[in-house]
């Protein structure tokens, strides 16, 4: 197993390299540059800035420099927020995004699995239809609708939660964004869980367990649930990577200083280094979480063995 993890980490290196290379050249192909949009920038100042950041060098040289810095763990300065390096921006924003994202993920997994299981056990009954209806609503209503509704109801009407802001990480400030992020995920997990639980309940070994007179609790939780959890495990990998790296919509609407907005802001401003930093962080999260998922698979299912 250790050997497998080691092998997977090694194969991640060429993957990352390809991603970095593709992203580097793609963002350069886009018209404009980091200092084009700013009004009132005199040509001299612009030329100075570009010279300072090495933007006048041939593209391949810039690429080589960037790779070299990256290998030393240096993401470079942000072009649009010149007071900060990209590393500093992430150091401040990433923990916030991770807190919100991880809370939403855990909430979604627990609540979604519970709802899906209840639906499966009551297939084609009222409880099942209610879960399906809620799940359909949850996955079709966009977050930019859910977020303002939460702000309106909990913040303004009932005055239970702050409308927005980070509040130095106060618990109440996190409730709104976590709920907004979690709701669509709860819907997805519930639907996945319902399907795989129905299948699991129909399997032959569940029939065996019932024929042996085992209790409902053992049949459902010990035997059916563990088999049904596998699709949820595979869903969790990409979902975790997406949630933990922040959401532009949620962070913007609730005014939270996470890193979700960097990706879009940086791309629009041609803030090359920040775009690249975001790409690397998301790629790393995706690779690591997919690896964790594969390892979890082997933990849950003894048939899965990696040499």
């Amino acid at each position: 197993m250790l050997r497998y993890v080691f092998r997977r980490l090694l194969t991640a290196i060429p993957t990352l390299f390809v991603i970095v290379t593709a992203a580097f050249f793609l963002i350069r192909v886009a018209p404009g540059g980091p200092f084009n949009q700013e009004r009132g920038l005199s040509p001299e100042i612009k030329a100075n800035l570009e010279a300072q950041f090495g933007l006048n060098d041939p593209l391949w040289l810039q690429y080589v420099h960037y790779l070299g810095n990256l290998l030393r763990g240096n993401f470079g300065p942000s072009y649009n927020m010149p007071d900060f390096t990209v590393t500093e921006l992430f150091a401040r924003g990433l923990p916030i995004s991770i807190q919100i994202g991880a809370s939403a993920l855990i909430l979604a997994l627990l609540l979604g699995s519970l709802l899906g299981t209840i639906a499966a056990l009551n297939q084609n009954k009222i409880a099942d239809y209610s879960v399906i209806a809620v799940a359909a609503a949850g996955s079709t209503i966009p977050t930019f609708v859910i977020a303002p509704v939460i702000q309106l109801l909990f913040g303004l009407t009932w005055n239970l939660l702050p409308i927005g802001g980070w509040g130095d990480g106060a618990l109440l400030n996190k409730v709104g964004p976590v709920l907004t992020l979690a709701l669509p995920q709860i819907a997805i997990v519930a639907r996945l869980m319902r399907g795989s639980m129905i299948e699991s309940l129909r399997s032959h070994h569940i029939r065996t367990a019932r024929a042996l007179g085992l209790s409902d609790w053992s049949v459902v939780v010990k035997h059916a649930l563990r088999g049904a959890i596998l699709p949820i495990v595979s869903f969790t990998g990409p979902a975790a990577a997406a949630l933990l790296t922040g959401s532009i919509i949620v962070e913007t609407i609730f005014s939270i200083p996470g890193i979700g907005r960097y990706f879009v802001d940086a791309a629009l401003n041609r803030d090359y280094t920040l775009v690249m930093g975001t790409v690397v962080v998301i790629a790393l999260f995706t690779i690591v979480f997919n690896l964790i998922v594969d390892v979890m698979y082997a933990v849950v299912d003894p048939r899965v063995r990696y040499d």
Binding site: R3, R207, A211, L212, G213, L214, H223, G227
Partner: protein, 539 residues
């Protein structure tokens, strides 16, 4: 047989399934009883309701099923018990083993864990005591090295071993009745015999009653005291096992008893030309390997096999699962890469690629075991069987193709109107006819038949065997008949190759192999098959 008390009696049991097409009645008011310590067989073909009867008795019906009537176990109606009362009976007083040893155990828990659970639940033992009991049970069902096996997972065991574990679980709490639902159908013949012997021996030791649900009359004759013959949800005949075999009353019982394929195939004339020849054919599968994953495991599925198939000959390839018989069939048709020489007629096709093989494909056809999976569900039967003509006779007009389809369907004994319908509208036997029509429409010379009758009921098997023989006689076909079923092979083939672990252990003319098998493996195979399935109505 000592008269003993009736412990289970099923009275006017009806089982209904709600489906999209309305309610379907699977069991139509049947009466069955089981006495203490006796062996009862419930016999019938697929769809007879034999399994659903026992599923209903155990409250294991699918969620859209519903049972009415009385299932009386020692004075209590199982159908009206609460769930917790029912769970005091299930697994404790009445237990059950199933047809599917590969999937009936939970793949995620060790054997020990699964064995200990029902023991603790029903007997309230502590963990250590339950573990001792579990070990005792594994010894009882003759699992070698039980200490180590406790830690094994189901996927690490063979089908026969898994069925032994199932039996151990079922017997854990010393039940009154063991219901065995086709317990050996999915196993190889030699393993079948072992499992049946084990069950008989355990019954002698422990004295429980056994209810065999089976389609296999060999099992019935050998093991059962009494028999119920079921058809379409009704019991059509019941009585002492011996009486039913000697003088069956109902026409359906007589038909079942006569359903074993009979007859033999005469060998082709000695000067018949060799159509398909393989010399030192080898197929090797590569498992695992890759970047940093170490050396791949090489598995030789077919090991130096030579075979000569003459015109109008049928070679039966016999062997248990994993013996490489299907792989050999595919390799000879160049559907798998292989080493060695393969000749078709006077052409060397060993190195022929897909492109080069295409024009030859019409003469080399293949029919598969699974008549459900091998026909595209979204094409009409007409489209399915004429598809090959589009490739091999592209000049035919639509009208001509349609005529050929009519002809092919008539030839396999189906109504030509079938060509406008879809595969799911047909039964297993009819689908196998469609699959045969698809091969025959191209007028092939060699047909590889890969277990073509294994998924079918005995009575349908017999019809398919007769159809294949007729087609062979009409068109001078050569068959490579791959099967684990010795009775069918005996009726079909004039020459037999016995395979084990990729190698030929014995070959020769059919009658010689059956009357005087040389290799000890062949003898084991024959004995197992004779023990389990052989009987003659005339006997």
């Amino acid at each position: 047989m000592v008269a003993s008390e009736t412990i289970l009696s099923v009275k006017d049991l009806r089982v209904r399934f709600r489906t999209l097409d309305g309610a379907v009645e699977a069991v139509k008011g049947i009466n069955i009883h089981v006495n203490a310590g006796e062996t009862v067989a419930v016999v019938g073909e697929s769809g007879s309701g034999k399994s659903q009867t026992m599923m209903a008795a155990m409250s294991l019906l699918a969620s859209n099923g519903e049972a009415t009537g009385v299932v009386d176990y020692r004075g209590r109606n199982l159908l009206t018990l609460s769930k917790s009362e029912l769970n005091q009976v299930r697994g404790r007083k009445i237990s059950m083993i199933f047809q599917e040893p590969m999937t009936s155990l939970d793949p995620l828990y060790s054997i020990g864990n699964q064995l200990i659970e029902p023991i603790r639940r029903h007997r309230g033992l502590g963990a250590a005591e339950a573990r001792e009991e579990a070990l005792k049970l594994l010894r009882l069902v003759q699992i070698p090295d039980p200490e180590r096996r406790m830690k094994s997972y189901p996927h690490e065991m063979s089908g026969g071993q898994r069925q032994r574990v199932m039996i151990a679980m079922a017997l854990a709490n010393d039940p009154d009745i063991l219901i065995a639902d086709e317990p050996t159908t999915a196993l190889d013949v030699t393993i079948q015999a072992q499992i049946l012997m084990l069950l008989a021996e355990l019954q002698r030791k422990l004295g429980m009653a056994i209810v065999f649900i089976t389609h296999d009359l060999g099992i019935v004759r050998r093991f059962a005291d009494r028999v119920y013959v079921m058809r379409c949800g009704e019991v059509v005949e019941e009585g002492e096992a011996e009486a039913i075999f000697v003088s069956p009353q109902h026409a359906y019982t007589k038909m079942l008893l006569a359903a074993e394929p009979t007859g033999t195939k005469a060998p082709p004339p000695p000067n018949a030309p060799v159509l398909l020849e393989g010399r030192n054919v080898e197929v090797t599968f590569r498992i695992g390997g890759g970047f940093l994953a170490g050396e791949p495991l090489m598995l030789r599925a077919v090991d130096h096999i030579s075979i000569r198939l003459k015109r109008n000959q049928t070679i039966g390839i016999v062997g248990e699962s994993g013996s490489g018989k299907s792989t050999l069939g595919r390799a000879l048709l160049r559907l798998l890469p292989s080493d060695g020489l393969i000749r078709f007629g006077d052409r060397d096709i060993s190195g022929a690629d897909r492109q080069a093989m295409r024009p030859l494909r019409r003469e080399l056809q293949l029919v598969f075991q699974d008549p459900f999976g091998s026909l595209s569900p979204r094409m009409t039967v007409g489209q399915v069987i004429t598809e090959g003509l589009l490739v091999h006779e592209p000049t035919l007009s639509g009208r001509q193709r349609d005529l050929r389809a009519v002809e092919a369907l008539r030839e396999v004994g189906l109504d030509p109107n079938a060509r406008n319908r879809y595969p799911h509208e047909f039964s297993g036997g009819q689908r196998q006819r469609i699959a045969i029509a698809r091969a025959m429409i191209l007028k092939p010379k060699v047909v590889v038949l890969d277990e073509p009758t294994s998924a079918l009921d005995r009575s349908v098997q017999k019809q398919i065997v007769e159809l294949l023989r007729k087609l062979q006689a009409d068109h001078e076909l050569s068959y490579l008949f791959i099967s684990h079923d010795l009775a069918v092979v005996r009726a079909m083939a004039d020459y037999i190759i016995v395979m084990k672990q990729g190698k030929i252990v014995e070959e020769g003319p059919t009658e010689a192999i059956f009357s005087n098998p040389q290799a000890s493996y062949t003898q084991t195979l024959m004995n197992a098959a004779v023990d389990v399935t052989r009987f003659r109505l005339s006997a």
